[in-house]
Assembly symmetry: C2
Homo-oligomer: 449 residues x 2
């Protein structure tokens, strides 16, 4: 049996259910890991050992009671510090929210708890999930960016301080840091998981997502959190399917490769690596074909920036009026750009985005999944920014589900990843293909101690 | 057999198919009607008798050929002058578009033609389908408004100058004028019919709709025009169902009455009339229950104004920069309001509207249909405005399908109507209920000559 801190969500949950591991044992193992790694990584904002251990004791007692257990029983999960936690500060790592203590749990947090999970703590985020870098370090190389905005979630999972952590993606804030740190990252379809009780960036873009270390864990957590919530005005009522069951379909997937746009904007090492991954997947039986991006990609990146700026401006305007100087410069600039954008420009950007959404959803409705490199290059030795989100942005903008899998390492030693996208609300199909690719590639990365 | 000009679309199409009527006979009868009524009504902007008769001759020959005929074969249909017609001016009744001659037919126009319809001509609209009254007269009382913006379409159908005409609804531009003139008016779900080749007002609100004189005609025309069109970025891909077949379900519907908001804002004669209609429907077997409007209605009317202003501003900005003085005052004011609205205000209105959409679609998902008076009062003796669209606006804003049926006459002699709404993309269910109500009420109105 691996050390408890090395276990995935699925492994830990099974071990607990079988009585081979107790939630207390798991939490103690993870806390020891936090003791060893946190000082040099700065992944956590809030972690209350006492409460955590007492929670774990309760879960341990329940596990011994013989009563039926939730699918995530006793497994600790981290939360990016923008998720509302009842009675626990939710600061968005900002002076502006320094004193905010929510009175309720976000819907996704509540659902994780209902599935038996323990909340491990709150992880570091860039300020309000935007672009100013957080102090967090990349466990592969302290000189490199860990990415953002869900930096603490990615690093805590990569460094085995917790098996999974929620992040959020407005442009590229889940899959990019996941890939920079060598873990699995997932963003479901827009509307699949409620955002009620998540501090917003941009109401037409924000999507709940998470980091973990296996496709099975993605399915387990999606199963727990997917569902309609009238409290989120974009929540979809299409029923969730059996995501965990979908992983058993061991059929080689049809893979559409998007070379234009993605290869055009990636470095040579990344494109060569992606080609090598494709060769291995084809060898294992996948049917690989070239697919073209729609023309509407040409305005999609800039339009997303306009939309994000205006919607962030709409949320932050009252705070910005009172305490503009409390914001870090990039976020302040974003808010101010939004406040000064003419409404007709925002409307036109929304209209062009709608065209892009239509085009991309049609593209993703072909049988199988779409594949791209996850990022234009691996994490760079530059901590003044969080890296380039342009390979995530289009997917967030059009609401399609995406997953990144670690697929190898660059010459610098930093992780590389592949990004898969599936049909709108077709998470089952996407995860089945991702599980097949995970098995075919057999890549699991752990940063050096 | 009734005079050809008195026939509905369905009656005329059947008579042509049976050889009891020729398209030429139908067109001649309608043109005689135009000769008798147009001078005092001003419903038409463009009507080319020669082309029309030669079209009708072609359709007559086809009908005699024994080849299979389209469901609308030989039936003339009018078009609000915002529908693109290849080679025929499309002026939006504005100086700004005075010289615009499209090179292609709008998708809906093309589909009507493919179903065998003849384009009768272009009908009067308020300028760019907005609020400045058109010169059109109400055939029931020349002192009263005919409503707007689809004034010519409503009046041409009410006065039996054509059996059906396309309009469009951004706030209340189809069902209101339909009801003011005593005819059937229909607006499908947002996304059900392509708007490609329709001069826009507001891209998140504009909906193709039409006037006719029976629920059967609504179904026939919907069947011809419903469908996915990649050219319209909001087009939905959910398949159209058998709308004509749905009318045969002769089950008494469940009717949810929305008294709050609608009764609160209607005059006493209108509420008393609606109660009387409900009594008759219940007597005929309908199950009537009270239903409450969601709280989000409180901001919906004002938010729709903000959204319409900004989106109209986005479309008209370049023309407004060149020739602001060519616009009529209400439209110019709307554009200028849009251009000066802060983007964050528009974004917040869109966000609140999304909440309203969610609430209303949930409401409409109850079994059966929702019922309200169509307008707060019948058409008023005031031609300086086009009447109050507030009973349509909420349905346009949330994209639900609606229909108005003539249900009686006010003390003033002007028509009254009831408005029914169905589930999102549930036109079949809505039309089945409407056909039942039409039979139960047995009201058909014709204005005095």
């Amino acid at each position: 049996m691996p050390e408890p801190f090395e276990m995935t969500v699925g492994e830990a949950a099974r071990a607990i259910r079988r009585g081979e591991l107790t939630p207390v044992g798991l939490v103690e193992s993870l806390l020891a890991r936090v003791d060893a790694r946190e000082e040099s990584l700065l992944a956590w904002v809030y972690l209350d050992r006492e409460t955590l251990l007492s929670e774990a004791e309760g879960k341990t007692a329940e596990a011994r009671s013989g009563n039926p257990l939730g699918p995530l029983h006793g497994v600790p999960i981290g939360l990016k510090d923008i998720y509302y936690t009842a009675g626990i500060p939710t600061t968005a790592c900002s002076k502006v929210y320094a004193d905010f203590v929510p009175e309720f749990d976000g819907t996704s947090v509540r659902l994780l708890k209902e599935a038996g999970a323990i909340i491990m703590g709150k992880t570091m985020t860039t300020e309000f999930a935007c672009m100013d870098p957080s102090p967090t370090f990349n466990p592969w190389d302290a000189a490199c960016t860990p990415g953002g905005s869900s930096s603490g979630s990615a690093v805590s999972v990569a460094a085995r301080m917790c098996p999974a952590a929620l992040g959020s993606q407005t442009v590229g804030s889940v899959l990019r840091p996941a890939s920079y740190n060598g873990v699995v990252g997932f963003k479901p379809s827009f509307g699949r998981i409620s955002r009620h009780g998540v501090v917003p960036v941009s109401w037409t873009l924000d999507t709940v997502g998470w980091m973990c270390r296996s496709v099975e864990d993605v399915a387990l957590m999606l199963q727990a959190m997917a569902g309609y919530d009238p409290e989120d005005m974009v929540s979809r009522s299409e029923p969730a399917t059996n995501y965990v069951g979908a992983l058993n379909a061991n059929t080689p997937p049809r893979i559409g490769v998007l070379r234009d746009f993605f290869y055009d904007n990636a470095d040579g090492e990344t494109t060569a690596h992606t080609d090598e991954v494709l060769r291995r997947l084809a060898e294992a039986g996948a049917e690989v074909a070239e697919v073209a991006m729609p023309e509407s990609i040409n305005t999609a990146i800039e339009d997303q920036q306009i939309i994000m700026a205006v919607e962030a401006g709409a949320f932050h305007q009252p705070m910005h009026e009172r305490q503009a100087e409390d914001y870090q410069p990039r976020l302040r600039g974003l808010i101010e750009r939004g406040l000064s954008t003419p409404s007709v420009e925002y409307s036109r950007a929304m209209e062009r985005r709608q065209r892009f959404v239509t085009d991309m959803r049609r593209l993703a409705n072909r049988p199988g999944v779409l594949l791209t490199p996850t990022t234009p290059q691996p994490a760079q030795p530059d901590r003044t920014n969080t890296g380039n989100p342009m390979f995530q942005g289009p997917w967030t903008s059009c609401g399609l589900p995406t997953i990144t899998l670690p697929s190898g390492r660059a010459g610098s030693g930093l992780p590389l990843g592949i990004q898969l996208a599936g049909p709108y609300l077709g998470e089952g199909e996407l995860l089945a293909a991702a599980a097949w690719c995970e098995r075919a590639l057999g890549v699991s990365l752990a940063p050096p101690l």
